[in-house]
């Protein structure tokens, strides 16, 4: 049974993600790890309108009946928890970051906060971009080194010790992506102000 305090965190962050335009009405999912279990949003529940019955609990390392109602991305969440130290995962569809993921192999923020918090966000691609073990492995292996990544043309996977932390990285990435896009649209020469910025691609 999900702890009411934990449910409130899911509900509030789900609402924030939807209201901020970081996902479509039925897109995206969230989970946390508790012991050897995963608490994850059920398939089809709207991120912006979560209720306490929208959550299911399933085992981390073994299949159980919980999977019948779990989000399609459960396999990714499980694999990430198995391979990394993440305790919370959020997946959603931030549109500017998705646009950038279609044109580049990494997103390197150019603003202060994005540079400071993210340095570089890798873009990975999988042939079946949803719910496959292949994709799960690529995502999990990348998240051993980075706390957040973009899946090309699909969306973001972000991790943290809490949902709030994972949300922070997504919010920051989308803001950084907007700034990259808008700076590009200005069509003017960009003035570099960050020391060692040439090293960000090595992050």
């Amino acid at each position: 049974m999900i702890d009411p305090r934990l449910f409130e965190e899911f509900r509030d962050i789900g609402r924030d993600i939807y209201v901020a335009g970081l996902t479509s009405s039925h897109g995206g999912n969230m989970s946390v790890r508790a012991g050897s279990r995963v608490i994850i949003k059920r398939r089809g529940a709207q991120l912006g309108r979560l209720k306490i019955e929208d959550f299911i609990e399933t085992k981390l390392n073994a299949k159980d009946s919980g999977i019948t109602r779990a989000s399609t991305e459960l396999i990714v969440h499980r694999t990430v928890y198995q391979k990394t130290s993440a305790l919370a995962i959020i997946h959603c569809h931030p549109r500017t970051a998705i646009a950038l993921s279609l044109t580049r192999d990494e997103i390197i923020p150019i603003d202060v906060e994005g540079s400071y918090l993210l340095h570089k966000v890798p873009v990975v691609a999988a042939e079946f971009a949803s719910g496959s073990q292949e994709m799960a492995d690529i995502v999990a292996d990348t998240l051993r080194e980075y706390k957040i990544l973009m899946l090309r043309g699909h969306g973001v996977f972000s991790t943290g010790q809490t949902l709030e932390e994972a949300f922070h990285w997504i919010s920051c990435l989308e803001e950084a992506s907007d700034i990259i896009l808008e700076t590009h649209l200005l069509g003017e020469e960009r003035k570099e102000f960050r020391k060692h910025s040439e090293s960000y691609s090595k992050w």
Partner: protein, 600 residues
């Protein structure tokens, strides 16, 4: 060298044998250095048949791959041994200069075995390794010994024991650079038992980064975070670690009068702010540290280093004492006698409660500041009641029929956070491999300081994972080796890249966390081999059964069982707290459980 010097110095004091052994590259890969490598070597060298205070116990001094690299706070080293206080695996680490200087002697590890027949000292310099007589130093205090051996911060550094270690107090520290301590768990007594008074180091090697560009970039990025965080750039330099005194008291998590209460009515008087106003002469930094949390203070009678938060608490709220000058002087005394301040203060607090309850015949009472200094001297020299207190609070209280009044976990005195107001801290104390300790993944960060995010300090669901992750992170940092205060501003992804830059080998953030998990599990295996069981993963009954009496944590006890269950599950341990074969295989520890005694 790039991270590792590749050499172990192995000294047997019984027969004065000095050997240089190669550092096994596989062990370095799996355990890095410091605490991790120390635990791995201890696993081979000290089995369950060994009495910690016998000559078969060893002292393993170890630097890490980042030690002396010039990375922020890369000054630290560890000592690993079997603890005479807890009987568990033990490591303690310290800052200052000695660790940096030791690494520059060209060794990663110093193993000291056996027992000298008379007081002895070791000198490691570019001229070679010498074992020399120390009869004239025996009986001297830490400051006298350190000065006599020519301490010179950046050139020549002295590590020694004081009278407490010589007299085999189970709460005695090993001191380095005069005022820094490897304190917890009684390593001073192991050194005293070996008749080893001091180790002096002079080095000339360099730990130079393999990838200089990446190293420069990482120094810059790490420095930026340390400057940007108010904790590392303002609170710690201005107020020292005691900056958290008022914060912890306000939320009702400041243990008071042997944990009978969770708030101290005079906390303001012993706060970091008050220390700065009344006693601070200047702040000071360990080698290569931009934070400079160390206090140099002066009272009407004396000048010295400290006190930091835990020591202030131990001699202050824990003993019902609100005189900062008396507390600071108690801290100077412990440094000079070579005593663990937390255990000493907590043990005295325990004795105060026992005296108030009529369980012992002693004038000690809460608030009796006038008795504090003499009691500390009595502990170090094992005089009168001090002889019993030198055994630590658990043995002392148990000898008088009241073990429940020892506020300890696995016999290590708990530090300055009442876990009834910080549930995760309770789980941390109960599961800490060296006994109740806050330096194995302090929950102060997430439960109080919002680092990395604020979590509900009274909640229990989901707590186990956060505790375990913090335990892994702490074990990794202790193996690198850096000061954990950097972790208040800098995350593991930075440390991994620093390690990559120095060693030239690629490390991901999660590689470090995996190493931390491996170290944690190895330490657990060690304790299981010593006979510890699930029943030892517990807390004093007071914290489990007596609700906090007043303040914001009023009514709470530590709800340990549900957290412990979730914790074992999270770790992939069985319900008895034993790592499963699958977990050991995943951590590449599976071969170890079949390993018999061998040499490193």
């Amino acid at each position: 060298m790039h991270g590792w010097a590749g050499k172990i110095l192995d000294i047997d004091l019984t027969n004065h044998a000095i050997r240089t052994l190669p550092l096994d590259a596989e062990k370095a890969r799996l355990f890095l250095g410091g605490r991790g490598l120390g635990a791995r070597l201890l696993w081979d060298l000290v089995g369950p048949q060994v009495d910690p205070l016998s000559e078969s116990n060893v002292l393993i001094f170890a630097a890490g791959p980042l030690t002396a690299s010039g990375a922020q706070t890369s000054n630290r080293f560890t000592v690993s041994t079997k603890s005479p206080l807890t009987g568990t695996v033990l490591d303690a680490n310290s800052g200052g200069w000695w660790g940096m200087q030791f690494k520059r002697t060209g060794y990663d590890v110093l193993i000291v075995r056996g027992k000298a027949s008379q007081p002895t000292q070791i000198q490691i310099t570019p001229d070679g390794v010498k074992i020399e007589d120390a009869s004239l130093l025996w009986g001297k205090t830490v400051s006298e010994t350190t000065a006599a051996l020519g301490q010179d911060n950046n050139r020549r550094n002295v590590l020694c024991i004081g009278p407490a270690g010589e007299n085999l107090s189970r709460i005695s520290a090993i001191m380095n650079d005069g005022t820094r301590s490897l304190a917890r768990g009684g390593p001073g007594a192991v050194m005293g038992n070996k008749n080893l008074k001091a180790i002096t180091v002079v080095g000339s090697d360099k730990n130079a980064p393999e990838d200089r560009d990446l190293f420069r970039f990482m120094l810059y990025e790490t420095g930026k975070l340390i400057k940007a965080s108010p904790l590392t750039s303002q609170a710690l330099p201005e107020f020292g670690t005691a900056a958290v005194m008022n914060v912890v008291n306000t939320i009702g998590a400041l243990p008071t009068r042997n944990f009978q209460a969770s708030q101290f009515e005079n906390a303001e008087r012993v706060s970091g702010e008050q220390l700065t106003d009344d006693l601070l002469v200047r702040n000071q930094a360990c080698w290569a540290c931009p934070i400079a949390c160390t206090r140099v203070t002066r009272t009407e009678k004396a000048e010295g280093e400290g006190p930091e938060y835990e020591s202030t608490w131990a001699f202050g709220p824990q003993c019902g004492i609100d005189r900062l000058d008396v507390i600071a002087e108690a801290n100077y005394l412990c440094n000079d006698l070579g005593l663990d301040t937390i255990s000493a203060g907590s043990t005295i607090g325990c004795a105060m409660e026992m005296a108030e309850r009529g369980l012992i015949d002693s004038p000690l009472r809460f608030g009796r500041a006038d008795l504090l200094h003499d009691t500390l001297r009595d502990i170090a020299y094992r005089r009168g009641l001090g002889d019993e207190l030198a055994e630590g609070s658990y043995r002392f209280a148990a000898a008088h029929g009241a073990p429940e009044l020892s506020m300890s976990a696995k016999r290590l005195e708990l530090p300055a956070y009442d876990p009834r107001g910080m549930q995760g801290q309770g789980l941390l104390y109960a599961t800490s491999n060296r006994g109740g300790c806050h330096m194995r993944g302090n929950m102060l960060g997430p439960e109080v300081l919002a680092l990395p995010r604020l979590i509900d300090r009274f909640a229990t669901q989901g707590k186990a994972g956060i505790v375990a992750i913090h335990q892994h992170s702490a074990a990794a940092i202790d193996s690198l080796l850096l000061c954990k205060f950097t972790n208040l501003a800098v995350a593991e992804e930075y440390f991994a890249r620093l390690l990559t830059a120095v060693t030239g080998q690629s490390y991901k953030a999660d590689d470090l966390m995996r190493i931390g998990e491996r170290v944690w599990n190895l330490e657990r295996l060690y304790n299981l081999r010593e006979g510890f069981t699930r029943a030892d993963d517990t807390l004093p009954p007071r914290l489990l059964n007596e609700p906090s009496p007043a303040g914001p944590s009023a009514g709470f006890t530590v709800r340990l069982e549900p957290m412990l269950e979730e914790y074992y599950e999270f770790r992939g341990w069985d319900t008895n707290g034993v790592p499963t074969p699958a977990k050991l295989k995943m951590l590449e520890l599976d071969s170890l459980v079949a390993v018999k005694e061998d040499t490193p």
